[in-house]
Amino acid sequence: MRAPALTLVGVTKQFPGTLAVNFDPQQSLEFEAGHIHALVGENGAGKSTLVSIIAGIQPPTSGEMRLGDDIYSPGDVLEARRQGVDIVLQEPGLVDNMTVEENLVLGRERQFAPFGLFAPQMRRRLAAAALEHLPRRLDLSQPTRSLTLEDQKLVELARALSLDPKVLVIDEMSACLSERGVRELFTVLQSFVSKGRLVVYISHHLEEVFELCDRVTVMKDGRLVNTLNAGDTNEDELSSLMVGRAMKATLYRPDETTHATAQPLLEVVGLSLAGRYRDVSFTLHRGEILGIGGLVGCGSEQLALCLFGALRASSGTVRLAGRLVSFHQPHAAIRGGIAYLPADRDRDGLILGLSVEKNVSLASLPWLSRLGFMSNRREEQVARRFIEQLRIVVRSGKDIPLRLSGGNRQKVVLSKWLVRDKEVLILHNPTRGVDVRGKAEIHALINELAGRGMGILLITDELPELIGMSDTIMMMRRGRVSGHTSRKERPTEERLISYML
């Protein structure tokens, strides 16, 4: 019998205070060539730690890895890459002031610089060949920073594929992709494994697992729960294996509950930001969840930043509770009662090395201090309250978010905005990279906040979330509003997609 493409035996990874990965000493996990093999599990189940070990980002504490028949123990990412293992992460991984072309050939200078001098023709050919792996056309000479996040991720994918790895790890990449991007990713991966290669695929979207993958391994608390053929199982079974109990389908809010009132809270008229979005108008009422959907780059993110005072709109008016407002700085918007949960929590939402309790209090410093003096005890109490209420898994409030899983990090960011009651909560992908249970908890919380009379602006790339949570939905396409619908009309994903494309 042929050896599996990749075998992990008895792998463990110890972090101070936790065993992030914890296989039994003789337990092995085998990945067959020609398969797309999914790793699923809740946040903090150890999936990302495991693949970072596979990709050489960090060494295991104990255990052994084999590539085919050979012992595989990479010292770093480059060594892993040389041995044929590559990874594409959720986080952006390009040098953003360099062009697409430069990024694609980065680190392969030997192939286009014969005597230490760059040969532009060779370089272009090499880069163009790499881009051939993608179904969509991108401009090689564009700087990557001007690409959408989706295109950036696809460039990374092309770069990884151009090195023709034996094993390709995809960690939560689809979280950055639109529906169309996910389609393209699937096509690319399927053709990749048809050449006898292996893909290790991590995603929180179980439907992706069923559509794409051959095998599924479920992890929980760093342990291997089970490995199944994707064809022999279903979402309910996987969910219950992941949480260790059967999950009811209450991922979103119960259907006909609405807290929406007729009281206008946020009235936006003709808002525009040059080059990003144009002539956006809507009214958000108290208690309403207004969903905004669209492809990555449709302008919804900039719209949110303008409402929050982090960007200046070029024209249009915004009324908050009837009063004309124009916030020039986030701190003014926050004082006015607006909160903003950014899409990229690690870059924009959290100070990763600062304790959880200090992160939680960051947006409420004036309230937590008297004449500038902080009450550290009150701060601790506030943090403890949210740790209990939102069930954030930490050892104490002094823990740093760097050590927490995605879902727990997101709960810390949410806590930050709940310390003081806000009028308008702008949530951008609030459950991106969050496991099933965390998702359900966050959705319940959003519903509860709407019940308290807040207006919720829910910007999300996930159509089920958009449909499942919103009272009204506004779709955007290329910076313009392309359609409206509401919960009563029971919109389908197909209909929403037609507004997006």
Binding site: Q14, F15, P16, G17, T18, L19, G44, D221, G222, F308, A310, Q329, P330, H331, A333, I334, R335, Y340, P342, R347, D348, G349, L350, I351, L352, G353, L354, S355, K358, S361, L362, A363, L365, P366, L368, S369, G372, F373, M374, N376, V393, R395, S396, K398, I400, K416
Partner: protein, 334 residues
Amino acid sequence: MKTGEQPPATIGPSGFGAVAARAREAARSGRLIPPRLVPFLALIIVSAFFWVTAGDRFMSIDNGSFLLQQSAIIAIPAFGVTMVIISWSIDLSVGSLVALTGMVAAVVSVDHGPVVGLLAGVAVGVAAGVLNGIGLAVLKVPSFMVTLGMLSVGRGLTIIVSQSQPVDVARGFQAVGHPPGLFILFALCFAGAWVLLNYTSFGRRAVAIGGNERVARLSGVPVGREKILLFMFSGLMAGLGGIALTARTGAATPTAAMGFELTAIAAVVLGGTPLTGGVGSMLNTVIGAFILSILLNGMIILGIPSEIQLVVQGLVLIGAVLLSLERSKIGIIK
């Protein structure tokens, strides 16, 4: 969630958050000494070294008192620098500002008496700090360049104000530069800086900006205003340090405190506060100031030539940065 073995010292008092983080890292990498103890250990080693080599000339009551005074002079401006470094900026102008404020105080005190002189010195420090802050926060010039410019401006103004002559201070002025006045000033500055860093929203905002300026801004920290206040604080501390230094020497000279910005930064870094912002401690800066003044004083006692002292001081600064920089945070060294 599993709780395995915990390294000792994971949770320290708030000022030691950083050091605790590094202690965790050390526990992982298997280093023997928790980094939070390194500055204290360095202090003991340096003291022991000079005790052995210089004997009673070093370990005497007189020299002890001298060391305390010298440390106070270094530490006071270094408190301001600590705050700036915690916010991931840098202040290179303190040396010149110490000289300028001391000079202004001395010149004004000649005609208007010591109290007005002292206030004038401090006011000049605050004003220069505000200008640094505006350059950074409003004009968006990197703090490294703004304060490098101010270093030159401050020195030039010092020479202009002094008319290139040393200026003797007025009677009564000297009190702030000698025990017990100097020690009282030092204690007040330490207490003030410590409270400001650990128990005020001002300090918290500085930590947040140093941790991640983008997140701080999106969390409602008025970043521009905070930066101006931070440099104002640094200017204030430089002013207090300037009058203390002038009072101690009894005269303000145009070349006073040459290169003192490096001494202050060295004290901060030797204390273990990384240049990469987000963390730091005032107590550690005091330790750093002690280490530095013992080193300088010990070398003088041993008769080491001043040019060699400069070389040693520079190497110690680089060595301290080497130990304290959180490389994981910057990734790329420029």
